[in-house]
Amino acid sequence: MNEEENKSLETVVPSESESEKKKGMSSFFASIKTKFVKKDNAPSDELPRDKREPLIRIAKRNNVTWKTKLIAGLSCVGTAILVSILFLWAISGANPFSIIGAIFQGTFGNSIKLWAAIKEIVILLAVALALLPAYKMRFWNVGGQGQILIGALLTAICMQYLGDKMPSALVIIFSIIFAAVGGALWAYIPAIFKAKWNTNETLFTLMLNYIAVLLVTFFTDRWKGQKSSMGTINSSTKSGWLPTLKLGSAIDGKVLIPLILVILLTVFMYFYLRKTKHGYEIEVVGDSVSTARYTGIPVPHVIRRTLAMSGCICGLVGFFYVAGFDHTLSATTSGGYGFSAVIICWLSNFNPFVMIGYSSLLIFLEQGGRNLSNTMYYQYSGLNEYSTQLAVFLIIIAIMLTSFFIRYRLVFAKDNKVTVKKAEQ
């Protein structure tokens, strides 16, 4: 074996004279031997790996084909689902197949569950679409929650104070206007500061969330008075409530209109960002503010305009929450979707149509997890709300890793060993 390797080495250096080569070879291998090959005396033609060279390093993939994407995606998500189910199985002892069954039942169990899931998807997708133009502009609006709450609060105020003074339709119109303007304002304020003084929009929008939460609690606390909770607004007159379509038991009349609207919004966002002058400006500002200024794009104006739109849609989501779905208000009304939407935006790489898929997946997992803990908790105490949520988030993190492994690959140091093919002169 050793002899063979030496031979193969000799054959690749025909250019040098015989004596020089042998001398060079022997001294070279001697130096390797003394330095690196201590215990096993095989003179390898590979230099040992440097200890300080990292064992694994990350390299960018050159050509990403859909095959790589599919393999990376399936292997990441597949592993995560497997790990999640194994995890749930390990802590509860429940049959893995019934776990999977319960997860699917969460969304597809019956039409009520399906429409509940669709409702959640619609809301999540709407918020994600609202944040999209801001993110495309590299404006880190994490204030979706606050903007939704302000819209919800203003709707509740309209219903509460105007409900018995005017017809329901007028209340609804007022609610829409107030919710849209309020939400827009809640995003416009940080945009002004960003445009004028370049303040940090992440902190600013985050702080406005807290203010919105406190404003909502202040009002709900006043409205509820001595009661333990606020209850339904205008429960008897239903003034300001969005009318529910009666479409039979298979379709939820509350959800249908928002569903249609959000589909329209998806298409609109796609065209707005790709085909319009506004969308072009947003993309240039997001890529480089210097380039935008150089071209003559009024950067502060674009920031303010885009954020007003972003906030306006969030405010309208708040309106639908109160006037369409809940008919009540609480600080948890927005359900944390202001933050989940951020994940959706990034995962889908800012493509509105891809967002539909990711929103659906996220809600499917959440509903499935909830159903799992609801139906199987009595049998297996390990399957509570928290362990199922934990499993859901494992899967979401795996999805995020997928996008990483699509772009990069791991290189193990052993592929990287230095092969000495020619002897030293």
Binding site: R52, E53, N62, T276, R293, Y294, V418, V420, E424
Partner: protein
């Protein structure tokens, strides 16, 4: 005596790019070796592997026939190898001495006095000028470079690698640096200098290694080399380098800058009472050490920089004279002033890296056409014309321009700007980082624009090019105009002296 360093079959790959391919090179003790090659030929990568920044994918390094492993700069220092990078790695708020001893483990406390003495001794030995107690932020580029070199010598380095050391220096500073390097060679130090300037190679080095596309293509003894031989080796084919300078028509003044004064965001004066003019069909060069106010000048003219009261930039637009000071880029555009600007930061300011050629052509015209929808027909046409006319190498006009090579990026930018048939063309370092052929292509394009009666302001750093290309040169020094000279009659030395005029006066005032 120093060490004999050999690189054996060194290869390094970054993604698709093979930065170095099977390079064999010996560095002899006590020599000055030039590493010559165009941008992207792998000079810096190769030396980075010697100084421990990168680790080779294949091949090995021997010093005096012993195999060594250099996987960090500390390893390199241990073998007496040190590198001065093109972008200095100094802590701004530290003094020279603090930077020099940074990272050395010589006990917990710092003996400032002995450090300073050692630094002064090193400086005296080779003829450096260095003040150990001066803060880095107060230093000129040349002083910072001195600190970097002394830092290496302080660590006992005997093989110094200098990456493009002359790119930011004035001719006088370059002369001084070369004298220092010769003194170091006399003292037995080995020096590797990475450069793409032929005259420096010929005047300084003992041997020249020429790299092309990551491979070592030629190794000359400097005494056998000529500029022509070296150029051909660098480019890989015989090239005729000739700038065909068009005579200016000098019919009328296109732009008159007077008393222009600007401050930057830190309220430091960047331009101080700058006045000059430029005629139609004339190319005015702007010379100066980097950061002498070139950026502020071009940005002021294009409306990106706020100007102080009293400043005036008059632009002759047909029969009208328009004042550009106080107007935004959009207002200037709306006035019908056809002004084109090729900024220094091509991808960060001139282009959108994620857009293709079409998207980038849109930057100048996206507002055209009615309604809120983008009209892409005309820019698609322009993109095709630019791709064709300047032979831009790109898979399609929708391929993101950030994936293109530096030369092609510049062609896209320049192509878009001249597509507007500008009356005034501002260019900043138009050929920085480009290969020789592309550079000459760009000089020719600029000359074509001169013939089209455009006035051109050409901010450059290579004095040879400035002298051969432009009609007049405005020399900036510390934000002030230190002289306006005729390119046809002046010489490098004069311009070099003007570039450092006010610094000299300050020094004299101090003494």
């Amino acid at each position: 005596m120093g060490n004999r360093i050999r690189l054996h079959h060194i290869s390094k790959r970054f993604g698709e790019v093979l930065a170095n391919n099977d390079v064999n090179l010996t560095i002899l003790p006590g020599e000055i070796l030039s590493l010559l090659g165009e941008n992207g030929s792998g000079k810096t990568t190769l030396m980075n592997m010697l100084s421990g920044i990168y680790f080779p994918d294949a091949g090995r390094i021997t010093i005096n026939h012993e195999i060594v492993r250099i996987s960090s700069p500390a390893d390199a220092f241990a073998h007496g190898i040190g590198m001065v990078h093109q972008h200095f790695k100094l802590v701004d708020t530290f003094t020279a001495a603090e930077n020099i001893i940074l990272g050395l483990r010589e006990g917990f406390f710092i003996n400032k006095k002995s450090v300073n003495e050692k630094i002064t001794a090193i400086a005296a030995r080779y003829g450096f000028h260095i003040d150990p107690n001066k803060k880095v932020y107060d230093m000129s580029v040349s002083e910072k470079q001195t600190v970097e070199i002394v830092k290496l010598l302080y660590r006992g380095v005997d093989t110094l690698i200098l990456d493009e050391p002359t790119a930011v220096l004035t001719p006088q500073e370059i002369d001084h640096l070369f004298n220092v390097l010769r003194a170091m060679r006399k003292d037995g130090k080995t020096i590797v200098i990475i450069t793409h300037k032929l005259n420096e190679v010929l005047s300084l080095s003992d041997r020249v290694a020429v790299l092309r596309k990551g491979e070592l293509v030629n190794l000359f003894d400097t005494k056998d080399a000529t500029e022509e031989l070296l150029t051909d080796a660098m480019v890989g084919e015989h090239v005729v380098l000739h700038i065909d300078r068009a005579e200016p028509s000098k019919r009328k003044q296109r732009i008159i800058v007077s008393h222009l004064t600007t401050y930057n965001e830190e309220h430091v004066k960047t331009l101080d009472d700058v006045s000059f003019d430029c005629y139609t069909g004339e190319m005015v060069g702007i010379a100066g050490i980097g950061g002498s106010g070139q950026k502020a000048l071009l940005e002021a003219i294009s409306g990106l920089q706020k100007c102080e009261p009293g400043s005036s930039i008059m632009f002759s637009n047909g029969d009208l004279m328009e004042e550009l000071v106080g107007k935004s880029p959009k207002e200037i555009k709306d006035l019908g002033v056809r002004l084109a600007f090729v900024p220094e930061d091509r991808l960060g300011m001139g282009l959108v890296g994620n857009f293709g050629m079409m998207g980038n052509m849109l930057l100048r015209s996206y507002e055209n056409g009615k309604g809120p929808i983008l009209h892409t027909k005309e820019p698609t046409q322009t993109a095709k014309e630019v791709k064709e006319g300047l032979s831009v190498l790109t898979p399609s006009i929708d391929t993101p321009v950030r994936t293109l090579s530096g030369g092609n990026v510049q062609k896209v930018l320049l192509g878009r700007e001249i597509a507007t048939s500008p009356r005034l063309l501002l260019t900043a370092y138009a050929t920085r980082g480009l290969d020789i052929n592309t550079s000459y292509l760009i000089y020719n394009i600029l000359n074509e624009q001169k013939k089209n009666e455009a006035a051109i302001l050409y901010v450059g750093e290579d004095l040879d090019v400035l002298l051969a290309l432009t009609d007049r040169i405005v020399v900036l020094c510390d934000g002030k105009v230190s002289g306006i000279v005729d390119s046809r009659t002046t010489d490098k030395k004069t311009v070099g002296q003007l570039m450092a005029k006010f610094e000299k006066q300050e020094e004299q005032a101090h003494e």
